[in-house]
């Protein structure tokens, strides 16, 4: 999948850059993030928990940074394993552009999923990724610049797809949960 877009954050670029490198702020911003740790200047590990209906699952992944150009942007790449549910891997280019006192964050994500994630979830991924990155940005902007008066009303926490996954389809629910967690990681990829 390919996902690109931009988001305006009401804070100066240096502050946004610093926040993007602050594990505590990221932890607040990533939906379901339990733990995030910088293991080196260019490596980060994260554990994200997501709950969908009755099912919750944990997902862990590693992200690497390259083409570091503070405070203008970087390229990130990473890989996450979801056990028998499959894998996600991908990368993103992130660019920060000054706009007066605010910052516009441009992102281009390119991700690939495999195994059951692709088999069951391939056509659900784009929409879910957009929704999760939207949540991320709202949280992130709030953490960096305080609550945003112009923020979109929050979406229901469960994406539409999970409505199809009733109690009779625990596996589908579970797989959907993993997809969401993977996509939470992709949001990480996109932003730090």
């Amino acid at each position: 999948m390919n996902l690109s877009g931009e988001h305006r954050i009401e804070a100066p670029r240096d502050q946004v850059w610093a926040a993007l490198n602050d594990p505590d702020i990221l932890k607040q911003a990533i939906p379901g993030c339990e733990q995030i740790e910088k293991t080196s200047d260019t490596e980060l590990t994260a554990t994200v928990k997501a709950k969908v209906g009755p099912v919750s699952a944990k997902f862990s992944g590693v992200v690497r940074l390259s083409d570091l150009d503070p405070p203008h942007g970087y390229t990130i790449s990473g890989e996450g394993k979801g056990g028998a549910a499959g894998f996600a891997k991908g990368g993103a280019k992130v660019r920060l552009e000054e706009d007066g006192a605010a910052t516009i964050l441009h992102y281009e994500v390119n991700a690939q999923v495999g195994g059951k994630l692709a088999q069951i979830g391939s056509r659900l991924i784009d929409g879910t990724a957009r929704k999760l990155s939207g949540e991320f940005f709202d949280n992130f902007a709030a953490a960096v610049a305080g609550p945003q008066p112009t923020a979109e009303p929050e979406q229901p926490p469960v994406p539409a797809v999970t409505k199809k996954a009733g109690p009779g389809l625990p596996q589908a629910v579970w797989v959907t949960a993993v997809i969401i967690i993977v996509l939470a990681l992709l949001a990480i990829f996109a932003l730090k």
Partner: protein, 791 residues
């Protein structure tokens, strides 16, 4: 036709005996069976289409709650157990055999498709096995996958298998190249097509399943499994996979919910489940989940073909040239070399007397699931090529589609007819089939119907296919000559019980076809026993003497032939018993409909009396005749059978949405003698459903990385009852000349002739050439691009 005087003989629409249990939930499928103390298996499948495996760590999984053990390729290799095999050696253009890479029982140092089995977890419960599978750490090193055939064949492409250069399984040819080239030089017109035969995923209603059971006291292994051919599975497991010997291996295929070819093969899951049961000393049960079936069942079709037809100014066919790339997926299976070669190329002449035909096929390994025989197996692909080409020729030359075909038909008085593609057609009356099909569909009235549709803003189209196939696989000598690895006979054992009822043991296997009814009808016809008194037993190697199973529409022609031969042996032995009891000479005993009589007298003995005398031989010629009434026959016919048909499809397309509505589907079939008209109609209807599914709905899609995007019933569109009109079928009852029942087989016919008739109808409606499936999106886009081009 029945000479028995009963209403349950050949030709009667006897209700299916097996349906009571199927319709009331009383069927016994593999997953319904449970063995005392059984453990449950789950397979870890590869999420990568192509990757090196640098190591597999199963320690955490082995420690997980409830886990009995976890095995990988190394464990099976240590016990000398190997993986799926290819059953047919195809000789290439260069005289060398095709390339058949060795396949391990589980993926060892690499994976070659998403879904390839990497490890088996055996645990007390299925949930525990699945949880533990999460803990297996496979160190994959992903590599770029080769999904498209042209990429796999490209110069310098990576190799799936070290011993298969260029990923080419075989480069094969059929027919006369020089004669065909000469024919094209004389052509007035040449029609050319480039077509894709879409890849299909079988989706039998019952997923594959296996239970391995080992009796250490008897040193006997038993595999309960979803097989179309349990004896073949036993032979293959014993002879090639190291799980024999045959006398210590029993394979049981109980009720099986559909196969369509996908259950011919012996898969890794079945091999490994059986082995694990012996290794662990306890029964092990495995049932595929639907999502695993999508990934691991052998897929069907997937051909890219360029074909050309040379015609003279009158539309007479002079020569046909066909060049095909066929995808075999990641590795070979039993019929994966035979299907795109002989089962395809031998039918390229179709119903026509095209004098020169040349076909060449390259088969290619790709990082996708194995591709093998699927209902029709090669013959739908051949029919698709021929009948698209003929339909396009009619359009290009301005000759009516039916008239063009009629000019080129092999005349009915030319049989047996030696085709330029190896086979000898035994019988057929193609003009009659077409005439009748035109009557039934009201071909003459089509233009008025088209006009009426146009007035409602709809595009109406009609499509024809005149097809022939070779089936009834058999004959052993020919199959062996062409590279097949096994015999192709069938066996039957008829046991009269002392009280006059009959038990028939057949080596054919029924997984929905209705053997229990039709074979009972053969007994009823020839031995005068009502079908209710005939028990048909199949599917268990410990009970049935021998068999080659069910595929290639062989049960009626070959399995039925064996039943007939065994019945004749019963009749002849009974005649001797009757002569003794009636105190007459054998020559004077007449037999009809289950009753022996002395010629010219009213002295008779019924078959039931004969059976009783045979088992209670108080008054019996023991000096010259053995007691008992129990005869076995093997039947191996001298040729394939050649069913044929003329099919019309009529559709209406909504130009605003691209939705195709099937208005009518007419099939006039020559499937030989019709033993049970209701069952034949059912087989044809099922074939139509699958054929129309291919033409309009079904499409297997892998993305460029080899991930299966159509991996569930949400994304892979199967046909439903409300997609269809009421099908109209008729059979001509022209007997096959070389088997005793005169039957030709009807299991695959519907799926062979219908896809191209349907696509021809859609193309006729929209006026644009498109490939299958004709989905609303594809049809709509074709109409839009046509409209833009016209502007």
């Amino acid at each position: 036709m029945p000479d028995s005087g009963t209403n349950t003989g050949i030709g009667a629409s006897v209700r299916r005996k097996e349906d009571f249990r199927f319709l009331t939930g009383k069927g016994k499928y593999t997953d319904d069976l449970n063995r005392p103390g059984q453990a449950h298996a789950y397979f870890l499948l590869s999420p990568h289409a192509r990757a090196k495996i640098n190591g597999i760590d199963t320690n955490a999984a082995k420690q997980a709650p409830g886990v009995v053990d976890v095995f990988t390729a190394a464990d099976l290799a240590a016990d000398g157990v190997s993986g799926p095999i290819c059953g047919w050696v195809v000789t290439q253009k260069n005289g060398e055999p095709h390339k058949s890479p060795a396949v391990s029982a589980l993926a060892s140092d690499r994976v070659n498709y998403v879904g390839e089995q990497v490890a088996i977890v055996v645990a007390e419960t299925l949930a525990q096995a699945k949880d533990a599978a999460e803990l297996i750490e496979v160190n994959y090193q992903p590599q770029p996958a080769l999904i498209k055939m042209k990429d796999a064949l490209a110069n310098g492409a990576a190799q799936l298998h070290d011993d298969v250069p260029g990923n080419l399984c075989f480069d094969w040819e059929i027919g006369d190249k020089a004669a065909t080239d000469a024919a094209f030089k004389k052509a007035h017109h040449v029609t050319k097509i480039d077509i894709h035969n879409n890849r299909l995923i079988p989706n039998a209603i019952e997923p594959r399943a296996a239970i391995g059971d080992y009796d250490s006291g008897m040193d006997m292994m038993t595999l309960y499994t979803t097989s179309q051919n349990p004896h073949v599975a036993r032979l293959v497991l014993a002879a090639f996979m190291g799980l024999g010997p045959e006398n210590k291996l029993r394979v049981v295929a109980p009720d099986v919910g559909g196969g369509f070819g996908s259950k011919i093969y012996v898969y890794r899951d079945e091999i490994v489940t059986l082995w694990a049961a012996k290794k662990l000393g306890r029964p092990v049960k495995w049932t595929a989940e639907r999502s695993a079936s999508f990934l691991t069942d052998a897929h069907g079709r997937d051909h890219d073909t360029h074909a050309e037809l040379a015609v003279d100014k009158d539309g007479t066919f002079l020569g046909l040239r066909v060049s095909t790339l066929a995808n075999v997926g990641a590795h070979n299976q039993i019929f994966s070399t035979a299907t795109p070669s002989y089962l395809y190329g031998c039918l390229l002449a179709g119903q026509y007397r095209t004098p020169a035909v040349y076909g060449e096929v390259k088969t290619v390994f790709t990082n996708t699931a194995p591709v093998d025989a699927y209902r029709g197996a090669g013959r739908p692909e051949a029919t698709f090529v021929v009948e698209r080409l003929v339909e396009k020729t009619a359009k290009e030359m301005g000759i009516d589609r039916a008239e063009l075909r009629r000019r080129n038909f092999i005349p009915p008085d030319q049989f047996p007819y030696q085709s330029p593609c190896l086979v000898q057609y035994d019988s057929g009356d193609f003009p009659h089939l077409l005439d009748r099909a035109m009557e039934v569909i009201d071909y003459a009235g089509f233009s008025a119907r088209k006009q009426a549709s146009a007035e409602r803003g709809k595009l109406r189209g009609i499509g024809l296919s005149c097809w022939i196939e070779a089936c009834g696989l058999a004959p052993s000598a020919v199959v062996g000559f062409l590279g097949g690895g096994v015999g192709q006979w069938e066996s039957a054992n008829i046991k009269f019980n002392p009280t006059g009822s009959v038990t028939l043991y057949t080596g054919s296997h029924s997984h929905g076809q209705g053997h229990e009814t039709v074979f009972a009808q053969i007994i009823s016809e020839h031995l005068g026993v009502p079908v209710e008194s005939v028990e048909v037993v199949h599917g268990d190697t410990a009970v049935v003497p021998f068999g080659m199973g069910t595929y290639g529409s062989r049960s009626g022609p070959v399995g039925g032939g064996a039943v007939y031969k065994a019945a004749q042996k019963i009749v002849e032995k009974g005649r001797k018993i009757a002569a003794h009891l009636l105190e007459a000479s054998v020559e004077d005993i007449e037999y009809a409909g289950g009753t022996y009589s002395v010629a010219g007298t009213d002295r008779t003995k019924t078959m039931a009396e004969i059976a009783f005398a045979a088992y209670v031989p108080h008054n019996y010629p023991l000096d010259v005749l053995e007691p008992g009434l129990d005869e076995t026959a093997f039947f191996d016919p001298m040729n394939f059978t050649f069913p044929s048909g003329a099919y019309f499809a009529e559709v209406e397309v909504d130009p605003d949405t691209g939705v195709v509505t099937v208005l009518d589907m007419v099939g006039i079939d020559d499937v030989g003698t019709v033993m049970n008209p209701m069952i034949v109609a059912g087989q044809l209807h099922g074939g139509f459903a699958q054929g129309i599914g291919q033409a309009l709905y079904e499409q297997c899609v892998y993305d460029e990385n080899g991930q299966l995007l159509t991996g569930s019933l949400m994304d892979y569109c199967m046909p439903r009852a409300d997609h269809f009109p009421s099908f109209r079928t008729e059979e001509t009852n022209q007997p096959c000349p070389h088997n005793p029942l005169g039957v030709k087989g009807c299991g695959e016919a519907g799926a062979i002739g219908s896809p191209v008739a349907m696509l021809n109808a859609v193309i006729d409606a929209i006026g644009v050439n498109i490939d299958m499936p004709a989905t609303p999106e594809k049809v709509w886009r074709a109409l839009q691009s046509q409209a833009q081009a016209a502007e």
